[in-house]
């Protein structure tokens, strides 16, 4: 009974928040509702008894959306509305709507066909983290390792892109030091 009520509260709240994310013209509103929606999604995991996944959802998306905020801060004035350029609003609406429809059909088809089976149901006596770890290192080992390699590649790429002036310190730059030395010598003379 409590789960029923909680599910609908979470469901309605997430839907409203994500609608705000899409509809709002203010970057602050859409980012904040995105973050709040991501936090509320973790509520579903907790309701299903998957505590570990719920917490992971919380930690991962809190961090990820925080990085998005950093970009928003650099590109937009948060207190003003963003003017969007729409060349062809009808086409955008049509394509977006079709995409959403396809996703809904994709995810609801197994539900309608009663084809969902829990391959790895929660066992008593085995913690959430252990259960996830077992599956990751047996059945899903290859995707897990591939994801790790992908992240490693992304990390190296990031370091190479950002590392051009790694030794150059903004606050202790050599150029400024040289200028200082020149000034000091002038003072001595």
């Amino acid at each position: 009974m409590y789960e029923f009520i909680a599910f609908y509260i979470f469901a309605i709240a997430t839907t409203i928040l994500f609608v705000i994310t899409v509809m709002s013209k203010n970057v602050l509103y859409s980012m904040t509702s995105l973050a709040a929606g991501m936090v509320l999604i973790s509520g579903f995991f907790f309701l299903l008894g998957a505590d570990f996944l719920g917490v992971v959802q919380l930690i991962v998306y809190v961090g990820a959306v925080m990085a998005l905020y950093a970009f928003a801060m650099m590109f937009f004035d948060a207190t003003k509305n963003v003017k969007e350029k729409h060349q062809n609003p009808a086409l955008v609406f049509l394509l977006g709507g079709l995409m959403a429809l396809v996703f809904v059909i994709m995810f609801s088809a197994p539900v309608i066909g009663d084809n969902i089976q829990a391959l790895y149901p929660i066992e008593d006596g085995v913690g959430n983290a252990q259960a996830v770890g077992m599956v990751l290192f047996t059945k899903y080992l290859v995707p897990f390792e591939v994801a790790a390699v992908m992240l490693l590649v992304a990390m190296i790429a990031g370091i190479i892109l950002a590392g051009k002036k790694m030794d150059y310190s903004l606050t202790k730059s050599e150029a400024i030091d040289e200028e200082m030395n020149v000034e000091l010598k002038k003072g001595e003379e």
Binding site: T32, V39, G63, M66, M73, A78
Partner: protein
């Protein structure tokens, strides 16, 4: 829930009483903490601190409270009003939600009504991750506050929040990973039971303990890492435009987070609420949390602020490699010994 087998059943009434208890007691302690902080800092800096209101300045707390509640509540003209109002609530609320999953006071039964009040309001078996995640979510408070107030100092404050969060979250997670590997569980109760024989995890994991404390201070933005509201550089950072109780909520949230960090450090590294020699467990945990709180004040009195680039340098070039090496060594030792 296998730990609760011998104990009475946890009812909804017990949990609600517990939640109200946490709110009331921690909020009061957070207020009293400001008084202690001023007194301890004054002692260390050879000043007197608050002493005019009441005996030893004890009623300074009440005076501050009256001031906070009666101050004019200002919302700047061009600010985003909704986000501006929500931001302080996020900080305070997440700080208290994080406290829901840590054992704060010993469990007891209310005699006449026969209601059992558990020591943890919600015993999720991934307690540590939940608390860390909730504290991380709390940093949305400063971030949103800075961005909503249409003030350049605020924007700088929130930009610093983002960089500080993104870097120190890594160190917190990695440093606490080594003890988690040793215990093999994410539940605070298991951590406590692991140290029941009297050897604290800090003995095995001194590096992780130091790293966790440093990262914890950065996450609760205590000096020397309080770049978010560095008053000598950026006025007050993200709280520049805040006044009255909205500002007070940020403050309560910060102090509640300090207590949470103290609780995590005490339970994960310092032996938890086990009995020690002749001292009962509840006294030990309070003493440890109090010492950890005092230690934060001590650090604040002893160290100057650091620059943002020094903060980044410390995190990515010193602490993170150390934490990774610590995790690897722990793994190798566990493989050989265990």
């Amino acid at each position: 829930m296998e730990t609760a087998t011998m104990l009475p059943e946890v009812t909804a009434a017990g949990v609600i009483i517990k939640a109200v208890l946490i709110l009331a007691v921690i909020a009061a302690i957070a207020g009293f903490g400001t008084y202690i902080e001023r007194k301890v800092l004054a002692f260390m800096q050879r000043r007197l601190g608050p002493q005019h209101v009441g005996p030893f300045g004890l009623l300074q707390l009440a005076a501050d409270g009256i001031k906070l509640f009666t101050k004019e509540d200002i919302i700047p003209q061009h600010a985003n009003k909704i986000i501006f109002a929500v931001a302080p609530v996020i900080t305070a609320a997440t700080a208290f939600i994080a406290l829901a999953a840590v054992p704060v006071f010993p469990d007891f039964t209310i005699p006449l009504l026969d209601i059992y009040v558990p020591s943890i309001a919600s015993d999720v078996n991934v307690g540590i991750l939940f608390v860390l995640g909730m504290m991380a979510a709390g940093l949305y408070g400063p971030l949103l506050a800075g961005m909503a107030q249409a003030n350049k100092w605020g924007i700088i404050g929130s930009a610093r929040t983002a960089i500080q969060f993104l870097s120190y979250e890594v160190v917190t997670g990695l440093s606490i990973l080594a003890p988690i590997m040793m215990v093999g569980s994410l539940s605070f109760v298991d951590f406590n039971n692991y140290q029941a024989d009297g050897t604290w995890i800090v003995v095995y994991q001194p590096v992780a303990f130091v790293l966790f404390l440093i990262a914890g201070y950065a996450e609760t933005n205590r000096t020397p890492f309080d770049l978010l509201e560095h008053e000598a550089e950026i006025v007050s950072g993200y709280v520049t435009e805040y006044s009255g109780m909205r500002w007070g909520l940020f403050f309560i949230g910060e102090y509640a987070n300090m207590i949470t960090i103290g609780v995590i450090a005490s339970i994960v590294f310092l032996g938890g609420y086990n009995d020690f020699w002749i001292f009962p467990g509840w006294l030990m945990i309070i003493a440890k949390i109090a010492f950890s709180f005092f230690f934060m004040l001590w650090v604040r009195a002893a160290w100057p602020h650091i620059r943002p680039d020094q903060l980044m340098w410390l995190c990515w070039k010193v602490l993170m490699p150390l934490a990774v090496v610590n995790v690897v060594i722990t793994g190798i030792v566990m493989m050989i010994v265990g």
